[in-house]
């Protein structure tokens, strides 16, 4: 049974972001997300090579986290979605 979680990603090649995601197996989900973030980082390194230290630092500072929302499915109304984002914007930042 999947549930709605808030994903927070900080580090990697993009700006920090958070997204609502439907997840059944959080461990598998986090594994996939980490793989994707690292893949992007490696692709970026072709253009801007990083030193070993910078690579190690990038790995150390990478944050991929999931937070409970209390919802099972994506909300039916846009207001509820906005409320959820507001709630997490306040608590995460």
């Amino acid at each position: 049974m999947s549930r709605l979680l808030m994903l927070y990603v900080k580090g990697g090649s993009s700006e920090p972001y958070y997204r609502l995601v439907s997840v059944e197996d959080p461990v598998r989900f986090l594994g996939i997300m980490r793989a994707r973030v690292l893949k992007d980082q490696i692709n970026k390194m072709d253009e801007n090579p990083l030193t070993d230290e910078a690579q190690a630092n990038a790995l150390r500072t990478l944050k991929v986290k999931l937070y409970e929302t209390g919802y099972k499915d994506y909300p039916d109304t846009d207001e509820e979605v906005a409320k959820l984002y507001r709630r997490f914007r306040a608590s995460i930042s």
Binding site: V21, A35, V81
Partner: protein, 367 residues
């Protein structure tokens, strides 16, 4: 800290105490639980549950075969397992075997799949075993079934192969005769006299036999009973139809060599809803891992309802679900990516408009 007594444990201790085998003076014994699965089979069952909805009997049959093989209790002179899956189209027969490969080897293609419709004529069997010496092209016809091919996916931990004969009723009876030896002695002689050992192989055959009658029964209606009762009666009748059709089609010596014949049950609407969830999850993994621009998407209930309506049919099961997903979600999303409307890590919401058309929104909620 207060001490809490667990009533179940008290009952268990009382049972053990009253058991004459552990009374004073007897050899101490420990109660065993034959229902506990090995860690590998537990993982396999979890994979089954995450990929296949319902069809509990089929999942258990395959898990039992794997467990028997792992513990060394499988018949040493026969294949590790053999099973015939019967059932209407779109009920998940082939998908269950793919889930077995995924659960055992982490790759749903880690098996040899033989599409039996390619063996409709007797002479085509040479594609499987190679041509016998003396025939033109004997050396050029490489057999599909070889020991190396069977062992391709073996690992140090698990030396087991999966051999799938898909839609076996469509092949010539020459193939069934060939299978007699494999099912009975776990060996096969190729055209060049090499012998293949099938003792480490789980052989699965699938068939749609009786599907025409099943279709008639499913669409004809069987009275005005409650839906769950109707479904149970229907499943039992479909079971009989499929097994009778298989008995009529295959020779008694072939049918007798099968360890297990399992009929796949027709899918209910709730089951198809769960299948849709699985398909959407797999779609997301496909996008996030393979797309040049990874993104997230949500399909709202109204949009799911439309896909279910288009993708589910009582007769064809979930066969058209993927097609409906491709048409309604994959094609428009790939167009949105190609036209540059979706950026990296975007979150897309898929909804329906009042006129029933699908609409795609992008959330703008970066931190």
């Amino acid at each position: 800290m207060p001490f809490k007594v667990n009533p179940t444990m008290v009952e268990r201790v009382r049972t053990l105490w009253n058991d004459t085998r552990i009374k004073k003076g007897h050899v101490p014994v420990r109660l065993l639980d034959p229902t506990i699965n090995s860690p590998e089979v537990k993982n396999l069952l979890q994979t089954f549950d995450s990929l296949i909805v319902g069809q509990t009997e089929a999942k258990q049959v395959l898990a039992n075969a794997v467990e028997a093989y792992q513990s060394g209790f499988a018949d040493p002179n026969r294949p590790a397992g053999n099973v015939l899956f019967l059932g209407g189209t779109g009920t998940g027969k082939t998908a269950t075997v793919e889930a077995l490969a995924e659960g055992l080897f982490g790759n749903r293609r880690a098996m040899i799949k033989i599409d039996c419709a390619e063996y409709q004529h007797g002479h085509e069997i040479s594609k499987l075993v190679g041509s016998p010496p003396g025939y033109l092209g004997h050396r050029e016809t490489h057999p599909l079934l070889t020991q190396e091919a069977l062992e391709e996916f073996h690992t140090k931990k698990l030396e087991l192969s999966i051999l799938l004969f898909d839609e076996i009723e469509k092949s010539s009876d020459t193939l069934w005769n060939l299978l007699l030896g494999i099912l009975d002695k776990a060996s096969l002689t190729l055209g060049d006299n090499r012998r293949i050992d099938f003792r480490k192989v789980i052989i699965v055959m699938t068939s749609n036999l009786g599907s025409a009658q099943m279709e008639k029964l499913a669409t004809g209606g069987i009275g005005f009973s409650a839906p769950e009762v109707q479904s149970a009666i229907l499943d039992s009748q479909l079971d009989t139809i499929a097994k009778d059709a298989a008995k009529r089609k295959f020779s008694p010596e072939f049918f007798n060599r099968l360890n297990n014949v399992t009929v796949f049950h027709s899918l209910t609407e709730d089951m198809v809803k769960s299948i849709l969830d699985i398909e959407i999850k797999q779609l997301w993994e496909r996008f996030v891992l393979n797309s040049k621009i990874p993104f997230f998407f949500h399909v709202r209930k109204s949009a799911r309802a439309v896909i279910l309506k288009e993708g589910f049919d009582r007769v064809y099961g979930a066969r058209y679900l993927k097609r409906a997903l491709e048409k309604r979600i994959v094609t428009p999303l790939s167009r949105l990516v190609a036209s540059g409307q979706i950026h990296n890590n975007a979150s897309i919401v898929i909804d329906t408009a009042p006129n029933g058309d699908f609409q795609f929104y992008i959330e703008e909620n970066n931190v």
